[in-house]
């Protein structure tokens, strides 16, 4: 029977100097890398495929498959980028992870780089994580000093350089091609696909962008094997996952649980339940871009990609925000719409104009100059700005708007009816 609360990604949480190379290697760190150097690239990619590891940034795309898209025989540089931009409202698990275990991320990157034939890696972190950036930069220095980065790593003949790059305040840089544009020193605007980054990414070269948590899972998969990784989680959502939970809770924070864990239990046990005198009004299960759940929706719900999708929302990056009974859904919706209209990169018309249009209608809701028809109009605008743009930001705004209008439309309309 598997441990109900395994600590794999959070193995070093609470350990003194857990983030240091010394502690990391003392507890089995970088042994996966040594093992990987004894494997073929194909075998590494295959092991990751077998593990069923899915991207932890939000989309849940199978990691091994993504790696296999990199053309094998193409000469010239290839890149592996760690997407540590974590800007989805409600998400803060990568921030915690790289503070607790920067070397787990770095080790995952070296193995990934080796598997796809990359010679250079970047960790791209949002500027707002100043303390975490310092931790990462120090860890990179330590790794260089120990011969874990640079030329001929551990005598394997494999060269891999790793650098850190800071964003500058733009949610869209969490989208992989937006991140690549930003790394190229440009506005963080997503790129038209095709071509896909695995073929033409950073500076037109084959590039893989993986989420921080995704990469941190790699050493465990290589060390313990795909089968051991699958010991936790469900058939289609294997492994453990970090969930960020926030709101009026007793213990908001980041917790590692197996995928498929009980949603209600997670709220009461891990997050310590609601603050005294508060109850759940609504739940955002996967970051600000996910559709809302009512308290009823949580009954019997498990925390895995399929179960949450089956209930009409998404697991996303595992960011749970609890909206309690003291909150106004008008104000929460305003947060959502304002956020996405502020963050739209502005290149695709339906997103640029659609998010702005929604924010404009929203003003009419908050100042009560709008009508019930304005609420319905938001749903219509949201519908038609979906599925039409280069990246998913447009839907990221549309999906929650539609769910507010559908599930809490009465409250929105009642707010208008109350008058000034």
């Amino acid at each position: 029977m598997a441990d109900a609360k395994p600590k794999i990604l959070m193995k070093f949480e609470g350990m003194p100097d857990g983030h240091s190379l010394k502690t990391y290697t003392a507890h089995g760190g970088y042994t996966a890398l040594k093992k990987a150097f004894g494997m073929t690239k194909e075998a590494i990619i295959d092991e990751v495929k077998q593990s069923g590891l899915r991207g932890r940034g939000g989309a849940g795309f199978p990691t091994g498959m993504k790696w296999s898209f990199v053309p094998k025989d193409m000469p010239g540089p290839k890149y592996l980028i760690c997407n540590n931009d974590e800007s989805e409202p409600g998400t803060f698990k990568d921030r915690h992870l790289c503070q607790v275990s920067p070397h787990m991320v770095i080790e995952g990157m070296i193995i990934g780089g080796f598997a796809i034939g990359a010679s250079k890696g970047y960790i791209y972190t949002r500027w707002e994580f100043q303390g975490e950036i310092k931790v990462l930069e120090d860890a990179i220095k330590e790794a260089y000093a120990a011969g874990l980065l640079g030329k001929n790593i551990l005598g394997s003949g494999f060269d891999f350089d790793l650098d850190h790059y800071s964003g500058a305040g733009a949610y869209i840089c969490g989208e992989e091609t937006g991140l690549i544009s930003s790394l190229e020193g440009k506005k963080g605007q997503p790129k038209l696909k095709p071509p896909f980054p695995a073929v033409s990414g950073y500076l037109g070269r084959p590039t893989i962008v993986n989420n921080t948590e995704t990469l941190a899972n790699v050493p465990h998969i290589i060390n313990a094997g795909a089968k051991e990784f699958r010991k936790y989680g469900t058939e289609k959502s294997p492994g453990t996952k970090l969930f960020s939970i926030s709101g009026a809770l007793n213990k908001p924070g980041v917790y590692e649980v197996p995928l498929g864990y009980s949603f209600e239990k997670f709220i009461t046990d891990e997050a310590g339940g609601m603050m005294p005198g508060r109850s759940i009004k609504a739940v955002i299960p996967g970051g600000a871009s996910a559709a809302l759940f009512t308290p009823d929706d949580l009954k019997g719900l498990t925390m895995d990609y399929e179960a949450i999708a089956a209930k009409g929302s998404m697991l996303g990056s595992g960011a749970i925000m609890i909206i309690d009974d003291r909150q106004s859904m008008v104000e929460m919706l305003k947060s959502t719409v304002d956020f996405f209209s502020h963050e739209s990169c502005g290149q695709c018309t339906p997103c640029r104009e659609g998010t702005g249009w929604l924010a404009n209608i929203m003003c009419g809701l908050t100042d009560r100059t709008g009508t019930a028809a304005s609420v319905d109009k938001m749903g219509t605008v949201a519908k038609y700005m979906s599925g039409k743009t280069i990246c998913a930001l447009s839907e990221a705004c549309a999906i929650p708007v539609i769910s507010y209008v559908t599930k809490y439309g009465d409250e929105l309309k009642a707010y208008l009816a109350k008058g000034g």
Partner: protein, 156 residues
């Protein structure tokens, strides 16, 4: 005469050769300039264009695209307060109002400027405030005075 200090010139030159292309250095270079002077002046952009071959249109596009960069002079302390989602639920609006009132009361000599900022990625510490690069958590209305006082003192 350079508009940048000798140390900053060295830092910029380092960034220009650190990445695959010079253009990739734009974000780090702008961070370095803003760290030194609080904002990125037209003179700085001009110098990047003429002396460091970073195109002024590219630089201006980047400055205006990202939230962190300022193309106008800033006060000594830039307060970036998350005002949405969890921070909104747990008291950001009240704390923000208090800061706004304090800034108003201080007048011209006020060393603070406030920006309502999108999610800062520390929702378990909501409401979250960045003062320049320092993160403060659980910044409810009642904590505002103490936090700002600390900076006022160092401001002298």
């Amino acid at each position: 005469m350079s508009v940048f200090s000798a140390g900053l010139v060295k830092t910029i030159e380092g960034y220009l050769t650190r990445y695959e292309t010079k253009r990739s250095a734009i974000l780090p270079v702008l961070h370095a300039i803003q760290d030194e002077s609080g904002w990125i002046s037209p003179e700085a952009i001009e110098e990047l264009h003429t002396k460091f071959a970073l195109d002024r249109v590219h630089v201006k596009e980047v400055i205006t695209f990202y939230d962190i960069y300022h193309d106008e002079p800033t006060k000594k302390y830039v307060l970036r307060f998350c005002h949405q989602f969890t921070c909104h639920m747990l008291g950001a609006p009240e704390a923000i109002r208090k800061i706004e009132a304090k800034i108003d009361a201080m007048g011209e000599s006020c060393p603070f400027q406030l920006e309502k900022f999108p999610c800062l990625g520390k929702c378990d510490g909501a409401p979250v405030l960045l003062v320049n690069k320092d993160r403060h958590e659980r910044v409810t209305e009642d904590k505002v005075d103490a936090i700002l006082a600390k900076y006022e003192r160092t401001h002298g």
